[in-house]
């Protein structure tokens, strides 16, 4: 029996799922030989409640999504967090810095009462997560690597060293040397430093490495001219779920 795979989207841009379709035709055929995709609302009409592996995309931002995720967890043998929103909360957690009533009022004005929202959280704040495919969006290669590992029942080898290592290997000039600031020194590698290679800097979408030296990074950022407030703003974009969401 081929394992049955299901994709579920929560609050997010759905880019992770769509990027998964960017495999080459040959890889798609290989994948369909290895698994049965039984739920993928974004591209297929058929759906089933019987699945083994669940991919969760997006973060949880409503009460109703908590129950939905718990139900998926009780069905799935393996649960995978796909992308930054599901893995670490993602950009959605930026709203957690405001009272929810304030966020509702800014967007919906006097009709805020029609709608509900709760502070955004990653999947593992609600249920146990077995595998993580990090990134905003994830790199396709890592998705394939994780799928292969979980089909074999192994742990995938995901780097636990900072982006700087891969950035050096890519031959990039250090962002700080270019007079800009970067979160690379404390963020988990695995992305080949694609943002720096493309001329920009690291925003931190893959989350912190285990035991990051955040204080030292903050010192560096301040040394390069950012105030404490600006440093906090830099980290806010992806990496403050643990700090603010309770």
């Amino acid at each position: 029996m081929k394992p049955k795979v299901a994709f579920f989207d929560f609050s997010g841009c759905e880019g992770c799922q769509l990027d998964a379709l960017n495999l080459d035709a040959g890889d798609v055929v290989d994948l369909l030989n290895a698994v049965d995709i039984v739920n993928f609302r974004e591209v297929m009409t058929e759906r089933a409640d019987d699945y083994d592996i669940a991919f969760i995309e997006g973060s949880v931002t409503r009460e109703s999504e908590i129950a939905r995720l718990q139900k998926i967890r009780s069905q799935a043998k393996v649960l995978v967090a796909l992308g930054a929103c599901a893995s670490i909360g993602g950009v959605n957690c930026l709203k957690n810095h405001l009272p929810m009533e304030e966020a509702l009022r800014i967007v919906y004005g006097d009709k805020a009462g029609y709608y509900d929202t709760i502070p955004a959280r990653p999947a593992n704040a609600v249920v146990a997560v077995d595998y993580y495919v990090r990134g905003c969006p994830p790199v396709t290669g890592e998705l394939v690597k994780v799928v292969k590992a979980l089909l074999l029942g192994k742990k995938p080898e995901i780097p636990n060293f900072p982006v700087c290592v891969e950035c050096k290997m890519a031959g990039n000039i250090c962002v700080f040397e270019r007079g800009k600031t970067c979160l690379g020194p404390v963020i988990r590698a695995g992305c080949s430093a694609i943002c720096v290679t493309s001329g920009r800097h690291c925003w931190g979408c893959r989350g912190l490495v285990d035991e990051p030296n955040v204080d030292s990074e903050k010192d560096i950022l301040q040394k390069y001219g950012l105030t404490v407030a600006q440093v906090v703003e830099k980290f806010k974009i992806y990496n403050t779920y643990g700090d603010v969401a309770k």
Binding site: E14, V28, V91, S198
Partner: protein, 421 residues
């Protein structure tokens, strides 16, 4: 007399979560609703307090399909606020990058999301058995569009090299030259798609509405111009709020809009109805072959208009690459000096006109944001189309009514999570 109690929970093969509700008793429609249930994400609240260079980065995350459109509208809004005029080179690169996303998005919709309905399948996966050539071709076209975006911006979903002021990295011209060849081949592939679509039966349904799109005197507008309405003529971009008139309804987490009538349409068909004379020759020819003629009031023809636009975007991309190859590329200084003020950026995302409107303080920190998304502008029109369509097909079997309503929603290619940003 007929009774129907139909609910399509989370319609499939669209981006995001929406339901269709139809209740009929005694042959009379009691309830007919297009419900948007997607969780809102509060981007306009989250953008407040962000430094300007992080704003387009964040804006990109509004949508996983049209992230280049959001990034571009966002960059242009910041530039308008700071009084920055992008260079000629930047505009060439931006247009080419924009085409890449349009191609990818249209291929996704025309071949992966819409086509299975016409071919009697639930998804593209069974088509691997029944129509393998079409599926392999669709993946090839998607890959080409993806690679073009990659060459210009590092990746397609959440592009990187495009920033306020210009491009942070120049493309490799050899790579563009290779992609140019693949674009020539893509035009042949698109001819095959035209052959496929010629054999499909597009539902015959018309409802005239107001059609709104960007308009630029110089070209078929995607990233420049003012607002054009088939009812009201040209409206300056600065007056966009008078066009969109957003309002809330309790059964939709996405806002609705209206202008001169109860609702209006944006997207490929609205662009075609407003700007068809500016399509490049090959696209014009294909439109004629597929029976698409302006003004067209059939929403099911949106998919055909997307196919026509795919020819335009491929041909335009070849022209843009030729210009870039002949003039070469040079790294430019994209240094930006923030200043206090408001700026509006508007582009034609694959699904229609998109507005980003920002206000910054003197340090370049955002104090207010408003984003009006194409699908927000189409939700109300989908509802009105349903209200016109259902009475015409009420005598059909329930399954057929359900499929026809699903096909109507899919024709709009809605980007629902985008609309509940």
């Amino acid at each position: 007399m007929k009774s129907i109690n139909l609910k399509v929970n989370q319609i499939t093969r669209v981006e995001g979560h929406g339901n269709i509700v139809l209740k009929v008793s005694g042959g009379k429609i009691q309830e007919l609703k297009w419900e948007v249930t997607e969780s809102p994400r509060f981007f306009e609240a989250m953008m407040r307090g962000r430094y300007y260079e992080d704003v387009p980065y964040l804006a990109s995350r509004i949508c996983g399909i049209c992230s280049i459109a959001h990034t571009t509208a966002s960059i242009q809004a910041v530039e308008a606020a700071f009084g920055i005029q992008p260079s000629a080179q930047t505009m060439l690169l931006r247009k080419l990058l924009f085409n890449a996303e349009l191609l990818e998005s249209h291929v996704l919709h025309v071949l992966f999301l819409a086509a299975p309905d016409f071919l009697g399948a639930g998804s593209v996966f069974p088509l691997l058995q029944t129509h393998p050539d079409i599926v392999v071709m669709a993946l090839r076209l998607k890959k080409l569009a993806y690679n073009l975006a990659e060459a210009l911006a590092g990746r397609k979903t959440h592009p990187l090299s495009c920033e306020v002021g210009g491009f942070a990295k120049m493309p490799d011209l050899k790579e563009l030259e290779a992609i140019r060849k693949r674009l020539e081949a893509a035009l042949v592939d698109f001819d095959t798609v035209v052959g496929l679509y010629k054999g499909l039966r597009i539902p015959d349904f018309t409802r005239e509405t107001e059609y709104i799109a960007l308009k630029d005197a110089g070209e078929y507008a995607f990233i420049s111009g003012d607002i054009a309405s088939t009812d009201a003529g040209i409206i300056p971009l600065s007056n966009y709020l008078k066009v969109t008139n957003e309002f809330c309804v309790p059964h939709s987490t996405a806002k609705y809009t209206r202008h001169k009538r109860d609702s209006y349409m944006v997207g490929a068909l609205a662009r075609f109805n407003n700007n068809h004379k500016q399509l490049l020759p090959r696209a014009q020819k294909v439109a004629a072959e597929l029976g698409l003629k302006a003004p067209c009031y059939n929403p099911f023809m949106i998919t055909v208009a997307q196919l026509v636009e795919s020819f335009h975007a491929a041909e335009d991309s070849i022209n843009l690459i030729d210009q870039i190859l002949s003039r070469g590329v040079a790294t430019e200084d994209n240094a930006v000096k923030p200043k206090a003020g408001r700026g509006i950026g508007a582009v034609e995302a694959p699904r229609g006109i998109l507005f980003h409107d920002y206000t910054f303080d003197k340090n370049g920190v955002l104090t207010n944001a408003n984003c009006v998304i194409p699908t927000n502008q189409n939700h109300n029109n989908i509802q009105k189309d349903m209200e016109a369509l259902v009475p015409l097909i009420l005598d059909r079997p329930e399954d057929e009514i359900r499929l026809r309503l699903e096909m109507l929603v899919r024709a709009y290619d809605p980007c629902i999570s985008c609309s509940t940003h």
